[in-house]
Each structure stands twice: as structure tokens, then as C-alpha cells.
């Protein structure tokens, strides 16, 4: 990342060839909203992203022309729905370069994906005295499921510490890796401070001890290209709603031999081979882990969202977002008394900050009156904020549809709001 002072929008246009943010914004109907009479500036993308027309239209198309239950019907409509659903699985597989489509399991979101692995893999493989390794910058969703399974099994949760820049302390990680370690579950990109972690290095190190690794890719998925074969992780999860897809759909990737060795998480219809009252045999992955009628439209919407992103081009998005991050960091750094929390070298455009003498909740509420939506609070990462000695921060998290003009208006509004609070 290079800091660019006084970035003008023309400069950014020039830097990202073929990337026209103002044209792309037209794909997102909600971005035309006004809040308290001001144009909406949506800076809470790490919480959830807005949806492009392509995704919304795909859902309408599905419900108007393809809706039926999948995998069961012998009639044409059910085939249409099944094909659309399985087609979405193909799109997901391709987008993260999984070796087999059977390695893609549709879940409700990353939270369910992690719970599935913690419960199914953890219950089968963990025993008293074993250790599970996570980091200090995990989202609560990648802490609590492990805490519960460790408690149940008498296993111990170990934590990789974070330094003052918000980067993982890798030397500490290497010391924590021992023959007792049975699993590593690590966040790819921090949701509260934006740090991109060196997950490939972490996975390589864990594999020297034959330890499987789960990657929480929730914040990576909207901003970075993901290649599970290159990462060589055993599991990876993300939530669809953070990558411009509907809520209620997410992805769990698992290496085939891991998934097939794991017991089902939930049970019911569409995941069984033979059911008698004496015994039930199960289908192979992914169906073994998709009990009941899944979120069919959500999966199809996710497929549409991925195709939409592919249409813009990952590298175009990445390049543009880097200029947004540089500009926002520059603008915020100029504000008196503002402390950016998380100054890692590699970041996505997520900026957490606190301001001397102004509570995040007051800042967030007053910015709302300017039409600006930011997140305030602990961002479901209490242990991480404890590390920085704060209980809450303001967080501006950007997406490729945000603009330099929005950042400038945000910075000006922030100065105005701080003055109001402190006066």
C-alpha cells in the first residue's frame, strides 16, 4: 500500500483502467437512497454488503420461474431448481479453485460452517489435553464454538497474540505449535482492523505437524482472490451476504477425505441413503452435511454475486480498493486526536479508529444524520479490542462501490461531529 496524498478522483480513475465506479454504483439500487435528506454513504460493508441488481433479479427469476424443491422431484421444474442450485455449487467451486465440487457445502453462513467443523470434526477427534490454536483477532464466531468443544472434551484453547500494529506475532505462533496442537482455526482478514494475515505461511507451518487448518475467509472473500488448493487449507468458510449475495447462505469448503471421514452435523431429509428404524446410512459429502431443504434461492443468488464480481474483475477491484484505503487512511490521519487501531502493512479497506474525548456511539449516531453509516462497538472481537485497551471503536469498512468523494465527505463530517461532541 502506498499513501497517496490529495488523491483526486481522476487520478484514481486513471489508475484503475476499465473500472468506472460511478457506472458500477448504478448496479446497486440502494446506493441511490437518501437518509435524513442526505445521500447514503454506506461504510459498513464488513458487516454486510449491498446487493447488485444482478443478484436481486436472479432471485426474482428463480421465484417467478424455477421454484421447486431440489434433488427429489421427477418433474421439469424440480430439475430446473436442482440444476440452478448445483450450478451455484460449480460457480463457488471454480471461484475458490476447489478440486472437487463435493468439497463445497452450502451453510447458513460462516458461523454455521465453523460450528459444523468444531462439532463434527472436533467431537470425533479432540480428546483431553489436546490443544486448538486460534488468534487474538478472531471474530467471536471463531472463538466460542472452539471454546465449547474444548470444554466438552477437556481440550485447551491456545491463542496467537497480536502486536501493536495489529499483526499476528508469528514467532509466538511457532512456539505455540506443538505435538499437542490438534487444530488451527485462523482468520484470513480481520473484520475489525482489516489486517490480512499470512495464512499460507501459517498453514505450511501447521502442516509440518500434520495439523489441519480452518480459514475464516469472511472478510477475505469480498476483497481478495481465494485459491484453496494454493493455500492448501483443510477447511475454509465465508458468508455470502458479505460478498454481495443474500443473507442466509454461506460456504464451507473442506478437503474431500476430511469431509467424508466426519459424522453428520445435523440430520434429516436429503442427506441419507437408507433409513430403517434400526440404522440409517448417509450420503457422501456435500449432501451428508446439507440436511433438509437448503437455502436454494440463497445459493443461486450467491452464484449470481460471484459471477457479478468476476465480471468486474478481481484485480480491478483490488487495485481500486487499495487507492480507497490509502486515501481514507490519509484523510483520517489528518484529524486531530484520531487514533487508527490496526496499522498492519497488508490491509483491506477497513479502518477502525477511536477519538480522544468522543464516544464511538455518539460519533456513529451523529454521522447517521449526515447519511453516513459506520459501525461502532466491539465488532464481535472483544479480545482484540482489549488488546488495544479500548472497549469500542468506530469502523469504516469500504467496498468497491465507495468513492473518494464519499471519503472526503465522511472526513469533513467527522470533524464537524467531533466538534459538536467536544464543544
Amino acid at each position: 500500500m502506498t499513501a497517496i496524498a490529495n488523491t483526486s478522483s481522476e487520478k484514481i480513475q486513471k489508475q484503475s483502467k476499465g473500472f468506472d465506479v460511478h457506472a458500477l454504483r448504478q448496479d446497486f439500487p440502494i446506493l441511490n437512497s437518501t437518509i435524513y435528506g442526505k445521500p447514503l454513504i454506506y461504510f459498513d460493508n464488513a458487516a454486510t454488503s449491498q446487493k447488485p441488481k444482478a443478484v436481486i433479479d436472479r432471485l426474482v427469476q428463480y421465484y417467478e420461474h424455477e421454484n421447486a424443491n431440489i434433488h427429489r422431484g421427477v418433474y421439469h421444474l424440480s430439475d430446473l431448481a436442482s440444476n440452478a442450485y448445483e450450478g451455484a455449487r460449480d460457480i463457488v467451486q471454480k471461484s475458490i479453485n476447489a478440486a472437487h465440487k463435493e468439497e463445497i457445502i452450502f451453510v447458513r453462513g460462516a458461523t454455521e460452517g465453523i460450528n459444523l467443523v468444531a462439532s463434527s470434526w472436533g467431537r470425533t477427534n479432540l480428546k483431553a489435553g489436546d490443544e486448538v490454536l486460534i488468534s487474538q483477532m478472531e471474530h467471536h464466531a471463531n472463538i466460542v464454538p472452539w471454546q465449547l468443544i474444548c470444554e466438552e472434551k477437556g481440550a485447551i484453547l491456545k491463542v496467537i497474540p497480536v502486536d501493536e500494529n495489529g499483526e499476528l506475532i508469528l514467532s509466538a505462533f511457532h512456539k505455540l505449535l506443538t505435538e499437542k496442537t490438534k487444530f488451527v482455526s485462523i482468520v484470513y482478514v480481520s473484520n475489525s482492523i482489516g489486517t490480512i494475515n499470512p495464512v499460507k505461511t501459517i498453514i505450511e507451518s501447521a502442516h509440518k505437524f500434520n495439523i489441519p487448518v480452518l480459514v475464516d475467509a469472511c472478510q477475505a472473500a469480498p476483497h481478495l482472490s481465494i485459491d484453496v488448493q494454493e493455500l492448501d487449507c483443510e477447511f475454509l468458510v465465508y458468508s455470502g451476504h458479505k460478498i454481495f449475495a443474500p443473507t442466509g447462505i454461506g460456504v464451507l469448503y473442506g478437503k474431500e477425505h476430511y469431509l467424508n471421514a466426519m459424522p453428520p452435523y445435523q440430520s434429516g431429509g436429503d442427506m441419507i441413503n437408507i433409513v430403517t428404524f434400526e440404522k440409517t446410512t448417509f450420503k457422501e459429502a456435500p449432501h451428508k452435511f446439507e440436511a433438509g431443504t437448503p437455502d436454494i434461492s440463497g445459493a443461486i443468488g450467491l452464484g449470481a454475486a460471484i459471477e457479478y464480481i468476476n465480471g468486474i474483475g478481481r484485480s480491478n477491484i483490488h487495485e481500486y480498493e487499495e487507492t480507497l484505503l490509502a486515501h481514507a487512511t490519509q484523510k483520517l490521519s489528518e484529524i486531530d486526536g484520531l487514533r487508527i487501531i490496526g496499522t498492519a502493512k497488508n490491509k483491506i479497506p477497513v479502518i477502525s479508529f477511536s477519538i480522544d474525548g468522543a464516544h464511538p456511539m455518539d460519533i456513529g449516531t451523529l454521522l447517521d444524520f449526515e447519511g453516513i453509516a459506520i459501525r461502532t462497538g466491539n465488532h464481535c472481537t472483544q479480545p482484540l479490542l482489549d488488546r488495544f485497551g479500548v472497549s469500542a471503536t468506530c469502523r469504516a469498512s469500504l467496498a468497491f462501490y465507495n468513492t473518494v468523494e464519499e471519503i472526503d465527505f465522511f472526513a469533513d463530517s467527522l470533524i464537524k461531529v467531533i466538534k459538536k461532541i467536544k464543544s
Partner: protein, 145 residues
């Protein structure tokens, strides 16, 4: 300071004050201003025991009982919440447990704050009101014991 006006009278006055402020930003500015005027508690009062849990911010509340009336004092780390605390103290402090227990909370709805404050912040507001009623109940029980 003795409070000679009844709870409904004070509530009515607050409702009128808010009615004069047409836009939401103005209402919040008003809240922040009364928050700024709220004095800090004595330092040792900022402890876990006196904390009323909210999601986004912290509230501390202490009480004492004088001449059959409950005196409330409170503070928050967020200015808007501090304003809400000040509002509640203005209404409830220096009244008897019975007056507090019989008080109608409808005034918060009438100034629209209940609806406007988002769910998380509203939970904090509800928690404060609950805490006030809880104190009233406790002092009443003590009086009749």
C-alpha cells in the same frame, strides 16, 4: 434540591420541550447538551456494581434514600446516553418509591425516542428504566419491612 412537581408534570414539560425541536438532529443535540450538564459521579462510584449494562456504552447509577424519596445519580461514557440518563434523573429523582412505581413510561414514546433509538441503544434505555423501577421496589420493600 427538593422536587415539588409531580412525575407526570415533569414528563409533560419534557414532552413539550422535545415537541419544539422538529428535526431529529436537533433533538439529539438537545440530549447531548443536557448530558454535558450532568455532573460526574464521585470517582469510586464507577464500579461494576453500579454499572447498568448496555451494548454500545456504559451507564453507572447510584441511589440514596432521603426523607422518603429516592435520589438518583447517574452517568454514561457516551454523551447521547448521558443525555438520556439526565432525562430519566430529571423525571424520577427525588420522588417516593410509590410515585416512581406508578409512573407511566409513555412519555418516552411520546417524544419518539423509544422508536428512534435503535434496538441496541434502546435496550440500554429499557435497562435503565427497569433499574430505576427496581430500586423503587427495593426501597418500598425496605420501608414496609
Amino acid at each position: 434540591m427538593t422536587n415539588t412537581r409531580s412525575i407526570p408534570e415533569i414528563q409533560e414539560e419534557i414532552v413539550e420541550d422535545f415537541a419544539m425541536l422538529e428535526e431529529w438532529p436537533d433533538k439529539y443535540e438537545y440530549l447531548m447538551n443536557i448530558g454535558k450538564q450532568l455532573p460526574r459521579l464521585r470517582e469510586e462510584a464507577y464500579n461494576e456494581e453500579n454499572k447498568v449494562r448496555g451494548c454500545q456504552s456504559n451507564v453507572w447509577m447510584i441511589t440514596r434514600f432521603e426523607d422518603g424519596k429516592i435520589i438518583f445519580e447517574g452517568d454514561s461514557d457516551a454523551l447521547i446516553v448521558k443525555g438520556l440518563v439526565a432525562l430519566l434523573l430529571k423525571v424520577f429523582s427525588n420522588h417516593s418509591p410509590d410515585e416512581i412505581l406508578n409512573a407511566d413510561m409513555g412519555f418516552l414514546e411520546r417524544i419518539g425516542l423509544q422508536a428512534h433509538l435503535s434496538a441496541t441503544r434502546n435496550n440500554g434505555l429499557s435497562a435503565m428504566v427497569k433499574q430505576i423501577k427496581f430500586y423503587a421496589l427495593a426501597y418500598k420493600a425496605k420501608m414496609t419491612a
